[in-house]
C-alpha cells in the first residue's frame, strides 16, 4: 500500500514530474464542468485545471480553495492555498486560514478517536452488522480527511462482516472510489470483478452496471489497454445520470469511450459497435463532436476527424484521467488514419498525404518514416519521385525463408544439446563450489590468466 501511496496518489505529485501547461483556452466553463461531479474528485479536477491551464488557472484554484475548505481535508486546503499564492498572491483566497486548519485538524483527530472507540465497542459486542457499519463510518471519515491508505484498510475490513450481496457491492464500491483516487488500478479491476461475481445484483440494478463498467473502463484506459477500455465504456447501459458522479460523468463516458474506440477499433467495428450502439448513443448525444469525429472517420474523412479532435485537445489535456493519454490516443488515431488512407492505394504521392494530414506548411515525411520503422505502416518512401509505395508481399519466399530458418535453429539447438550431454557424460561440466570466489575475481578485472592474455593478445 505504501508504494501505491508514494506513486502519484495526488495529482500534484504527478504534475511536478511532467505537467503539460495548457495555454489555449478550453471550451468549457469551470462552474458547469465541476457541477457534473460530487465528492473528492471535484477538488482534484479543480486543482488539476488550476495548475495546468494558464487561462482558467486562477479561477480554478480559487474554486479549489473554496472546495477544500468546505471539506475536512486540511492537507488539500494547504496545497491549494500554496498553489494560489504562487500564481495570484493578491487574491483573498490565497491567504491561508491557519485557524481553520488547526481547528479542523483537531476536530478530525477527535472524530477519528471517537469512531475508533465506537468500533472497538461494537467489536466487543460481536454484532456483525454494527462492526461493518463502524468500519464503513471510519473508512468514510478517513477518506474525507484524505488518509486514503487507512480508508482503504477500513473499507477492506468491512468485507469480513458482510451478510447480504448488497454489502459486498457496497464494500467494493467504496474500495473502487478510494482506489481510483489512489490510482491503484489493479485493485479497481479486482473489485470490479468482485461485484461482477454477484450476478443477481448487477442484473437488477442498472446503476451498478454503469458504475462497474465505467470503473473498469477507467482502469483499463489508465493502464493503456485502450481497446478493452473502449469495450467497457461502450457496454455502459444508457441513462447514467448523476449516479456515478463521484468518479465519472456521463459526458466523460462519451469522451473516453469515443476516443478509446477511435484509437483502437477498425472502421467497420466503429460503425457497428459505436454508432449503432443504442446504449452508447445516449452518451454520444452529450458530446456531439465526438460522434461527428467518429462519423467522419468511418466515412474516411480523416482530416475532418483529426481537426475536430485537435480543436478539443486543450479540453482533454485538462481532464484528470485523459491528460496523460491524450497524446498517445491522438497519435494512434492519426496513424490509423494514415494507414487507412493508404490501404486502397499501391502508391500515393507524398503531396496528397501532406494535404490530407499535415498542418499547413509542414510535411509528414518524418512521421511516415517513424511509422514505417515501427511497422505500423507497411510501405516504403521514394523521396525522389515523392511517392509512398506499398510493399508487395511475397508469401512463398517468406515461407521458404522461415522454413529454412526454423530448420537451422532446430539444428543448432539439437547439436548444442547433444554437445552438452556429451560434456556432462565426459564429466567436463563445471561443478559448483570448486571456486566460490570466481565471480569476485572476475569483477576485479583479472579475466584470463596472464599467459592466456598474451595469447589472446596475439590476435590483436
Amino acid at each position: 500500500m505504501a508504494a501505491v501511496q508514494s506513486s502519484p496518489s495526488s495529482p500534484t505529485q504527478s504534475r511536478t514530474k511532467k505537467g503539460p501547461l495548457v495555454t489555449e483556452p478550453p471550451k468549457f466553463d469551470i462552474e458547469s464542468y465541476v457541477q457534473n461531479y460530487k465528492g473528492r474528485t471535484r477538488y482534484e479536477r479543480l486543482l488539476l485545471i488550476g495548475t495546468s491551464s494558464s487561462f482558467l488557472g486562477v479561477e480554478a484554484l480559487k474554486a479549489a480553495v473554496v472546495e477544500a475548505k468546505a471539506g475536512k481535508d486540511t492537507r488539500r486546503y494547504v496545497e491549494a492555498c500554496n498553489h494560489l499564492q504562487a500564481v495570484a498572491p493578491q487574491e483573498p483566497e490565497a491567504v491561508r486560514d491557519q485557524a481553520w486548519v488547526d481547528t479542523v485538524g483537531k476536530q478530525n483527530l477527535a472524530e477519528t478517536a471517537r469512531l475508533e472507540a465506537e468500533l472497538k465497542g461494537y467489536k466487543n459486542n460481536l454484532i456483525k452488522e454494527s462492526i461493518r457499519m463502524g468500519n464503513e463510518d471510519l473508512g468514510k471519515h478517513y477518506q474525507a480527511i484524505g488518509d486514503l491508505p487507512k480508508a482503504f484498510e477500513a473499507f477492506s475490513r468491512m468485507r469480513q462482516d458482510v451478510s447480504i450481496p448488497k454489502h459486498i457491492v457496497d464494500v467494493s464500491m467504496h474500495l473502487i472510489e478510494v482506489a481510483i483516487e489512489q490510482r491503484n488500478w489493479i485493485s479497481v479491476v479486482s473489485n470490479v470483478q468482485k461485484i461482477r461475481g454477484i450476478q443477481s445484483v448487477v442484473e437488477d440494478d442498472k446503476s451498478i452496471q454503469q458504475y462497474i463498467a465505467a470503473a473498469d473502463g477507467l482502469a483499463n484506459m489508465d493502464m493503456g489497454n485502450y481497446h478493452t477500455a473502449a469495450l467497457h465504456f461502450l457496454s455502459t447501459e444508457a441513462g447514467m445520470g448523476s449516479s456515478c458522479n463521484s468518479i465519472i460523468s456521463p459526458n466523460d463516458v462519451a469522451i473516453y469511450g469515443g476516443l478509446c474506440a477511435l484509437a483502437s477499433m477498425e472502421r467497420s467495428d466503429l460503425h457497428k459497435r459505436v454508432l449503432e450502439n443504442s446504449n452508447f448513443r445516449t452518451y454520444l448525444e452529450l458530446e456531439p463532436h465526438i460522434r461527428r469525429a467518429i462519423t467522419f472517420f468511418v466515412n474516411s474523412r480523416y482530416s475532418a476527424c483529426l481537426s475536430i479532435l485537435e480543436a478539443y485537445r486543450a479540453d482533454y489535456l485538462l481532464d484528470i484521467h485523459l491528460q496523460d493519454h491524450v497524446d498517445e490516443l491522438y497519435y494512434m488515431v492519426r496513424s490509423k488514419s494514415i494507414v487507412q488512407y493508404f490501404i486502397p492505394f499501391s502508391c500515393v504521392t507524398l503531396d496528397s498525404l501532406n494535404a490530407a494530414f499535415a498542418a499547413p506548411g509542414k510535411t509528414i515525411d518524418k512521421e511516415l518514416g517513424q511509422m514505417i520503422a515501427r511497422k505500423e505502416l507497411i510501405a516504403r518512401i521514394d523521396t525522389q519521385n515523392r511517392l509512398l509505395t506499398s510493399v508487395p508481399s511475397a508469401a512463398r519466399s517468406t515461407l521458404q525463408a522461415t522454413a529454412l530458418k526454423t530448420a537451422r535453429e532446430y539444428e543448432r539447438e539439437a547439436r548444442r544439446r547433444i554437445q552438452h550431454m556429451n560434456i556432462v557424460g565426459a564429466e567436463l561440466d563445471i561443478r559448483a563450489g570448486k571456486n566460490p570466489g570466481a565471480l569476485d575475481e572476475l569483477l576485479d578485472g583479472g579475466i584470463l590468466g596472464s599467459s592466456q592474455r598474451a595469447k589472446a593478445g596475439g590476435y590483436q
Partner: protein, 493 residues
C-alpha cells in the same frame, strides 16, 4: 638395417591378400608388429640401408605406418640428443609428410607415438618462429585420424593456438568448421571389440587411454571454443564466430568460468556485427551463469544497447569512455569494427523505410560512429554505399541521373532465391537434420549406458516391484525429446 627391413615390413602383408584381413587378423597382426618393432633398440633403427638410403626414404608411411613412426621417433630422439647424423630440416620434411600421409587405421594403435610426433612438430615450429608451417600438416593429420571431426582432442587445441599465433586462419577452417559433438573421457563409452574396425566411431578409439588425445579439462574445452571463435573473428565470419562463442557461453556450468565471460563479451560484439542489435542468450544457457554475465559484462551490454537505439555520437562517447576495458580484454579491434559497422546498419535499415533515396539524403539521415557525426561529403557516403553493395551486404542499386545527385534504389528485402537454390538449400538442410537424428539416436543409446541412468532405472524397477508406479519418464526406449532429456540430465548437472 637391411636385415631389419623384412621384420619391419611384415605387416600389413604386401601385396594385399585377395580377401582383406578380418578385423581379428588385422588386430592380431598389428599388435604383434608393434611389439616386435617396439623391442628393436633405437640405435638399430637409425642406420642407412646398404644402398645408402635413409630408412625414412625407403618405407612408405601410408602403408607401413608402424615401422615408419618408430624410425621417425628414433631420428627425432637422436636429433634432440644432438646426433650429428640427423638434420632437422630433412627431418621436418619427413614429419610433415608423415602427418599428411599416415594410415588412419594403423595410427589408432599408435596413440602415444602419434601424440609425440604432434608435440615435436608443435615445439619445432614454435621454436623456429614458424608456427605457420605446422598448421597444415597437423590439420591434415587430424582429419585423417577422424574424418568426421566430431570429437575434440588435445591436438585441436594445439592447432587453434598455432593458428592464432601465426594469424593463419584459413588453413584450420576444415577442422574448426566441424561441430564438436564428443569429448574424450566419456565414461559411458562401450568398449570396441577391435580398434581397427572400419566403421568404428571416433569416440571409441580417440580416448585418453589410446593416448590419441590427452585428458582434457573444462578449461581446455572452453579455450578451444573461444579460440576457434577468435579464428572466425579474424576471418570476419561472424556467423560461425557466433556459434563457436555460443558453444562456450552455453557450456554446462554451475559456476561461471572466466573464459566463458570472455566469450560472452566477444559474443555480444559479434552479435552486433552480425545482426545490428543485442541478441538474446541461447535457450540452453544456464541461468546462474547468465546472471554473472550480466553483472560482469555490463559495459558491453550498454554498448550493444546504444548500438541498437542510440545515436552515433553516444556510441562513440561510450566506446571511448570504456577504452581501457576493451583494451584490457583485448577486444579493441572488435570494438572498432563495431563502430565502423554502425553506419552500415543505419543505411541497411533505411531500406525498410525508403524505396528510393538520394545519396545526400542518406548522408543526412545516417551518422558515422567513428567520427560521431555525419560523413564529410556525400561523395564519402556514396563510396560507403558502393562498398556495401559490392560486398553484398546491401541489396540496392546506385544510379547517376544526368542532373542531380546519385540515387540509391533499394531492392526488396533479402535477395530472393530461385526455386532451384531453394530446393538445394532445403535438401541440404534435410540431410543435416537426418544426420543429426542419427547422432541423437547414438547419444540416446549412450545415455542408457550412463551409470547414473542405470542407477535410476534400477531404482525404477525396484519401485515397480514394490508397487510404486512409474511417474514421468518411461522405459529405456524412449524417443528423443529435448525436454525429457533435460530432465534426465538435471540430476547430473
Amino acid at each position: 638395417m637391411d636385415d631389419l627391413l623384412p621384420k619391419l615390413l611384415a605387416f600389413p602383408p604386401h601385396p594385399p591378400p585377395q580377401t582383406p584381413l578380418s578385423d581379428f587378423q588385422y588386430d592380431e597382426g598389428i599388435r604383434n608388429q608393434i611389439s616386435t618393432v617396439g623391442k628393436i633398440p633405437e640405435k638399430n633403427l637409425l642406420p642407412q640401408t646398404s644402398g645408402g638410403e635413409n630408412a625414412l626414404d625407403v618405407i612408405n608411411p601410408a602403408i607401413n605406418t608402424v615401422p615408419y613412426i618408430y624410425i621417425l621417433l628414433a631420428h627425432i630422439n637422436a636429433a634432440q640428443k644432438g646426433n650429428k647424423g640427423v638434420n632437422w630440416d630433412t627431418l621436418w620434411a619427413k614429419i610433415a609428410n608423415f602427418l599428411e600421409t599416415f594410415d588412419g587405421r594403423q595410427i589408432r594403435y599408435l596413440g602415444k607415438e602419434f601424440t609425440q610426433i604432434i608435440e615435436t612438430a608443435v615445439t619445432l615450429a614454435r621454436s623456429n618462429n614458424q608456427s605457420i608451417l605446422a598448421i597444415g600438416p597437423i590439420r591434415t593429420a587430424l582429419l585423417r585420424l577422424d574424418p568426421s571431426g566430431s570429437i575434440l582432442t588435445s591436438t585441436h587445441l594445439h592447432l587453434v593456438e598455432l593458428a592464432l599465433e601465426a594469424r593463419d586462419y584459413e588453413t584450420v577452417l576444415p577442422v574448426i568448421d566441424k561441430f564438436i559433438y564428443h569429448f574424450p573421457g566419456a565414461t559411458n563409452q562401450p568398449r570396441p571389440k577391435f580398434l581397427c574396425e572400419l566403421g568404428l566411431s571416433p569416440t571409441a578409439y580417440i580416448t585418453p587411454e589410446s593416448k590419441l588425445t590427452a585428458k582434457l579439462n573444462h578449461q581446455d574445452v572452453l579455450e578451444y571454443f573461444m579460440y576457434s571463435g577468435m579464428v572466425y573473428i579474424g576471418l570476419r565470419k561472424w556467423e560461425s564466430a557466433l556459434e563457436c562463442l555460443e558453444n562456450a557461453i552455453t557450456y554446462p556450468a554451475k559456476d561461471v568460468s572466466k573464459i566463458m565471460v570472455e566469450a560472452y563479451k566477444k559474443w555480444i560484439l559479434v552479435g552486433l556485427l552480425l545482426e545490428g542489435k543485442p541478441l538474446n542468450l541461447p535457450k540452453s544457457t544456464s541461468s546462474s551463469v547468465a546472471k554473472s554475465y550480466h553483472v560482469v559484462a555490463k559495459p558491453y551490454e550498454t554498448v550493444a544497447q546504444i548500438f541498437e537505439t542510440g545515436t552515433a555520437s553516444r556510441l562513440k562517447a561510450e566506446v571511448e569512455a570504456g577504452q581501457k576495458i576493451w583494451q584490457g580484454d583485448c577486444n579493441m579491434g572488435l570494438m572498432l569494427s563495431v563502430l565502423s559497422a554502425y553506419q552500415k546498419f543505419q543505411i541497411r535499415n533505411l531500406a525498410d523505410i525508403y524505396s528510393k533515396i538520394s545519396i545526400p539524403e542518406v548522408n543526412n539521415l545516417t551518422m558515422s560512429a567513428e567520427t560521431g557525426g555525419k560523413l564529410q561529403s556525400p561523395a564519402l557516403a556514396e563510396q560507403l554505399v558502393q562498398s556495401m553493395i559490392s560486398e553484398g551486404s546491401l541489396n540496392a542499386t546506385l544510379s547517376h541521373p544526368p542532373n542531380g545527385p546519385a540515387i540509391l534504389t533499394f531492392g526488396l528485402g533479402a535477395p530472393i532465391m530461385t526455386e532451384d537454390q531453394m530446393q538445394k538449400e532445403l535438401q541440404a538442410s534435410k540431410q543435416r537434420i537426418q544426420f543429426l537424428t542419427q547422432e541423437i539416436k547414438t547419444t540416446d543409446r549412450l545415455l542408457t549406458y550412463d551409470k547414473e541412468y542405470v542407477k535410476y532405472m534400477q531404482k525404477l524397477k525396484k519401485n515397480a516391484k514394490n508397487g510404486v508406479t512409474d511417474q514421468g519418464i518411461s522405459g529405456p526406449d524412449m524417443d528423443w525429446n529435448p525436454i525429457e532429456d533435460e530432465d534426465i540430465m538435471a540430476g547430473v548437472f
